[in-house]
């Protein structure tokens, strides 16, 4: 199994490049909507109604837009975790476990020291989430570097271990307060440690979107900065591109593998903390599979910071929009997974897209360096 074949792109410096690298995913989305519509039609429902309800549900009101962001943020952060490892030639299939570790560490701190001042506590929790996620991913990186243990297995196995640990902590006691009504959940996150809500309630009542959005944007900047503006990032990409050549060029490949995994895990740890800080409690099985969907987001976003941010927003919008669609149009919200799969499929089947573009006389776009 190799991921070295994944394209290594240069940052899109020119507008044409930007358009050229975006046209594939956009066409993929269009194709996915068409094919998904056929699925809806065949199953006996009206695709127009379905998409209309989904769109309205996702962005139809300021409140829904805020919720769409909330659905997107963990996906975006976890996708940075997948992508950063990808850039080093590692397939981090275990962001799910890393984000569980981040959620556990930050929740543990916040519930153990509920009297600390808010600003201190939240910073400590952010650091703890990143350290925990990074350490968990680092194990896989270290094993890869030391023994060659395949990261696809180790990250996945460590994921299951992390999830089992969280089950134990929440179901068998250690993190469950005695006054919980028999439901496996942690104590509350102290209110002073909450992320500030972005829109005050006199503008938009009940909006939950908080400052973790800025944290996510910052994470994207850091992601791109490390990879494209630092020697470390250069070396990580070199290892990802061709480990043998990188070693020949004097790069300590083993160490880069470990560092790349640790940084990747730190993004995932953050991705785990954010949803807990929305619900203000760590619930058992709190993640609906962010770490797995993030793989799709990373691939659709073509492993670039901006691409991932946009892909994450798209996937988050579909997830939130599906709630209204299922309620109002009586069509299963799982249509979203079908659409997500189709987007991914058409992004992967680049040849198909190129062929379609050529048929449509858009050769210039196809030939532009993607």
């Amino acid at each position: 199994m190799t991921v070295a074949t994944l394209p290594i792109e240069r940052p899109a410096g020119r507008l044409r490049q930007l358009v050229a690298s975006g046209i594939g995913p956009i066409l993929a989305v269009v194709l996915a909507i068409i094919v998904g519509g056929v699925v809806v039609l065949v199953s006996g429902s009206n695709p127009i109604t379905a998409y209309q309800q989904m769109l309205v549900g996702a962005v139809g009101s300021p409140f829904d837009i805020s919720e769409t962001f909330i659905s997107s943020i963990p996906l975006i952060l976890a996708a940075y975790a997948v992508s950063f490892a990808f850039r080093c030639g590692l397939f981090n299939i275990g962001a799910e476990g890393q984000l569980y570790m981040g959620a556990i560490a930050s929740t543990w701190l916040a519930t153990t020291f509920p009297n600390w001042p808010g600003i201190v506590l939240i910073i400590v929790c952010i650091v703890a989430a990143m350290v925990a996620g990074g350490a968990w991913a680092g194990i896989a990186g270290w094993l890869k570097a030391k023994t060659g243990a395949h990261e696809v297995i180790t990250t996945m196995m460590l994921s299951y271990v992390a999830i089992d640990i969280s089950h134990w902590l929440l179901e068998a006691g250690p993190m469950t307060p005695s006054n919980a009504y028999g439901t496996p959940e942690s104590g509350p996150i102290p209110p002073q440690a909450a992320f500030p809500i972005i829109l005050p309630s006199w503008i938009l009542p009940n909006a939950r979107l908080n400052a973790s959005l800025f944290l996510t944007i910052l994470a994207g900047v850091v992601f791109a900065w490390i990879l494209w503006r630092t020697p470390l990032g250069y070396e990580i990409r070199a290892v990802g591109f061709n480990p043998k050549a990188a070693a020949y060029g004097g790069i300590n490949v083993a160490r880069r593998l470990v560092i790349a995994m640790v940084i990747a895990g730190a993004f995932a740890g953050l991705a785990g903390m954010v949803p807990v800080w929305v619900q203000m409690r760590l619930y058992d099985s709190f993640s609906p599979g962010y770490g797995y969907e993030a793989i799709a987001v990373a691939l659709v976003g073509r492993n670039s910071a901006i691409g991932i941010f946009l892909a994450g927003l798209l996937y988050g919008a579909m997830i939130h929009g599906a709630v209204a669609m299922q309620a109002n149009a009586n069509i299963s919200g799982f249509l979203v997974q079908i659409l997500q799969a189709l987007v991914l499929f058409f992004v992967g089947a680049e040849m198909l897209i190129r062929w379609l573009l050529r048929r449509g006389g858009l050769r210039a776009l196809v030939e532009a360096p993607a």
Partner: protein, 313 residues
């Protein structure tokens, strides 16, 4: 708590060992499929999706026809069909095979749950669907311990065990097996010798779909006797791990599946004994990591695994 005593009594339970075989069976089928597919050079991380499709469509057909043969056939065919999509993407469209595999997994989850809602949303799948038959072995059935372990296992369990030496023989002792491995190691050389790289790869990918589909049917028709959203819950990924753990060898993969099956069975048997079963459930995963790092060593994939091939380049 008497740890040793409790463990000893659990290890003496035939349930533990019968459960090991039961849990290992669907994993084995999927892992063997993965081995065959990757030996031909097509990375397959889509066993999860193929199993899920097999699980759903077998129940759908079972509910409609009450015919176990048709239901099983449906699972195998649908597994093969969705594998064929992965085949087209990986072989003809030269898509990134990890991307395509992930897409297949997501598609299977979406499609099966979408159709589940469409057909069975109100009441769940019917309870009167037929099950895959158990095989009662007359004499062995009556031997005290052994009888309880293997005397009354499901047909699919036996099929999965039988499939292991069969897959090994197929890959390493037949002409087509040699061709498969040639295509997976050095497709250009195989092509030069007149072997159709594409045809071999399609065959292997579809074979993996057929096997995973059957594994899925076993999960839904026999183990759960129903279908629920995402019911494979990672079994296909465990099979993927078993494949790599077993170094792309059918026998190694089977042993890894037994380990995972044992872990699952142990977790269930420890429930209610005072052991933190959530942590026990994690032991096979920890063991895998330790084993992989400690003494299994570097897992080396077939040389052309995941590399698309272009005829006449």
């Amino acid at each position: 708590m008497d740890v040793i005593g409790t463990l000893a009594s659990i290890f003496a339970r035939p349930d533990l060992w019968a459960g090991t075989l039961r849990f290992a069976a669907p994993l084995t089928l999927a892992a063997l499929g993965g081995v065959i597919s990757e030996r031909s050079g097509v990375v397959n991380i889509a066993m999860e999706g193929m199993m899920l499709v097999g699980a759903f469509f077998s129940v759908l057909v079972a509910a409609a026809t009450h015919d176990i043969v048709l239901a099983t056939l449906a699972s195998v065919l649908c597994g093969g069909l969705i594998a064929a999509i992965h085949g087209v993407a990986s072989i003809h469209l030269r898509a990134n095979q990890i991307v395509s595999g992930m897409a297949i997994n997501l598609l299977a989850l979406g499609l099966t749950s979408f159709l589940m809602f469409r057909f069975f949303a109100t009441s769940g799948t019917p309870s009167d669907i037929p099950a895959l038959p158990d095989v009662k072995i007359p004499v062995i059935n009556n031997i005290p311990f052994v009888g309880a372990v293997i005397g009354d296992q499901n047909l699919v369990v036996w099929l999965s065990i039988l499939a292991v030496p069969l897959a090994w023989w197929f890959l390493f002792r037949t002409r087509i097996g040699l061709r498969i491995r040639a295509v997976g190691e050095h497709p250009r050389a195989a092509d030069t010798l007149g072997i159709s790289v594409y045809r071999i790869r399609y065959l292997c990918v579809i074979l993996s779909g057929l096997l995973s589909g059957l594994g899925g049917a076993y999960l839904s028709l026999s183990v759960a006797h129903s279908f629920s959203d995402n019911m494979t819950s990672g079994a296909g990924f465990i099979a993927l791990a078993a494949m790599i753990f077993g170094k792309w060898n059918p026998i190694g993969a089977f042993l890894a599946c037994l380990l995972f099956g044992f872990g699952q069975s142990l977790g269930i048997n420890l429930q209610g004994t005072g052991f933190p079963d959530q942590l026990v459930a994690a032991t096979p995963y920890v063991l895998t990591v330790v084993a992989l790092a400690g003494f299994v060593g570097r897992a080396i994939a077939p040389a052309a695994d995941g590399v698309p091939y272009e005829v006449g380049e």
